[in-house]
Symmetry: C3
Subunit: 138 residues, 3 copies
């Protein structure tokens, strides 16, 4: 069994952002030389997400509106978590969107459906954060 | 390390549906000959879900009502995504229910709890869609 | 390829609870002797969750309030599932929080970000329930 590990770093200019990382993950998979296996991609921070969905800007606006409805950022003092912090909403938003994805590796490629794209979802940005890629297989 | 890959195809008669695929996944695991490992089951489409919950029709009605409350289908024009499409709600519903499950394989069997059943959740049906099963192990 | 399996048992005093199980998972990983691979941790019951977030009591209060808003426990008869049961809400809450996490294993350790802690989330407690830990790798 082979394994391969790599980190991606992000520092978004805005508090919230959706970044398509599919190409970067595909490159890391190529570096790994692994042909058959599983590829885990996870946010290493608890106010960010890795998820799979469509690369369509209208949908990303819908995510923004919808997540703000489910777990509004403001007023900051509505959250018990926000004593010294202001990111209570980000912990909840990330819970909806998920921490991680596991993608099959087949024939040396990410085995994704026709519209599946891998995203980094940032909910408390303007600081350095990491995504972990861990691939195991042969 | 062994690996095994198979696709399941669906075309539901209704826009939304929950289909118990546990038996099909168990059969694929048997075909694979893998005794110890991990089994990834994921929707290959971004308006569908694979999740684990109870096979109880009352609960499935509750899912329908609850997801319609969290992300209503209509009016279609409430979603930015719905320029040429009408499935903005389906992308959000699938985000709540999740894209994938990873199930342990132990002694050649799906290592599930007493009530755990694997479901395909369709949120934009009446078209052909796929689920990917990828098993790795020994 | 090696694999290792272990169950954790819980019986919470309250209907809902969040229990940090990171240390227990780290101990199980050590027992396994696996240095590189993937560690699956999943609730074996469909009204419970395993998720990763911050070990901060204010945040856990926020989860309680937020999940009660998204899927209130009472009145019990609002859920079709609650014919003989009263835990319809718990199935929905667990859907938001997720069934499982997959954690990378690197150098014999759980490869977690600085604030990542693994939690057992109970939404219908006061009974015995299990979490499954399955580690594969080398």
């Amino acid at each position: 069994m082979k394994s391969y590990r790599k980190e991606l770093w992000f520092e978004t200019a805005t508090r919230r952002a959706y970044i398509n990382i599919s190409t970067q993950i595909a490159t890391i998979l190529q570096e790994s030389g692994i042909k058959e296996g599983l590829c885990l991609v996870n946010a290493m921070h608890i106010t960010a997400s890795v998820f799979i969905n469509d690369d369509e800007s209208g949908l990303h606006k819908d995510f923004e509106i919808w997540l703000e409805k489910l777990a509004p950022e403001k007023p900051h003092n509505q959250y018990n978590h926000n004593g010294y912090e202001d990111n209570g909403d980000a912990h909840l938003k990330r819970s909806v969107m998920g921490r991680e994805v596991v993608v099959a590796v087949t024939d040396g490629k990410l085995d994704l459906g026709p519209w599946e794209q891998i995203f980094y979802g940032e909910f408390d940005g303007k600081r350095k954060k990491r995504v972990l890629v861990k691939i195991i297989g042969e």
